[in-house]
Symmetry: C2
């Protein structure tokens, strides 16, 4: 894995500088425009390649009550933490009921889906390696 230096606006080549992404009301953040999906789901990229991250992305997903993420599989792993709401998580052939504070690991190429409970929206943090964005077979526009 490479740890590249980034060119800053001044033209000087120095290590990329970090930043703070402030939470606004509820689950939204300054400077983050949610991307919407069919069914009302939203993805908020808190830290991503567009911010200069080269290793790890951190995203917040919101799924409406009764909705679900796409049932999918891909080479990149996910580490997830449920923030609010309830979900049934499919991992391969297994289904797990989870709630706030529970963590979920999705293995490489494992079929997975998060289905929100009917009572309230589901919100979760989801990590993925930035490197998945380059050349992996599942890196279509729908890859999460």
């Amino acid at each position: 894995m490479k740890f590249p230096l980034q060119r800053r606006p001044s033209g000087a080549t120095v290590p990329w500088m970090g930043f703070v992404r402030r939470r606004r009301e509820e689950w939204s953040w300054d400077g983050v425009t949610p991307r919407g999906y069919a069914g009302g789901a939203e993805r908020h990229v808190l830290v991503g390649a567009a911010d200069g991250a080269t290793q790890v992305e951190l995203r917040y997903f919101r799924i409406p009550a009764g909705g679900a993420s796409v049932l999918e599989r891909h080479p990149h792993e996910h580490a997830v933490l449920i923030l609010h709401g309830q979900a049934d998580v499919q991992l391969g052939d297994e289904l797990h009921r989870v709630g706030p504070g529970d963590a979920v690991f999705v293995g490489s190429n494992e079929v997975h889906q998060l289905r929100a409970g009917s009572a309230e929206p589901l919100g979760f943090l989801c990590t993925a390696a930035v490197a998945r964005l380059k050349g992996a077979p599942a890196d279509s526009a729908s890859a999460r």
Copy 2:
């Protein structure tokens, strides 16, 4: 980045299977033994290499009120989300006051430290690439 297949106990080589890590009372999880640090800080690895993760780690850190993480720099990036408490985050030469829901990105080789407020313990999620564990210069026993 490689996406290796893992050998399961049965001996069959299949993609590694995910899992759920259930939250217990407060901020602790089934099957996760916190590692303690000087000053009372704790690291809880929710998803890590020991669990079969090969790409992304997800950890929870708890810093006592008035305490701080180690002031350090290393090649691996961090994406952080504050879960509870307040903190002053040092990123390079800058200091940022943050609270629950705020996200922080720590760039590669950026000096950083999280200092808990005096009123209550600080808790935050912190991600890092698993690959940092192999051969990077900063991968000493103290690397977080």
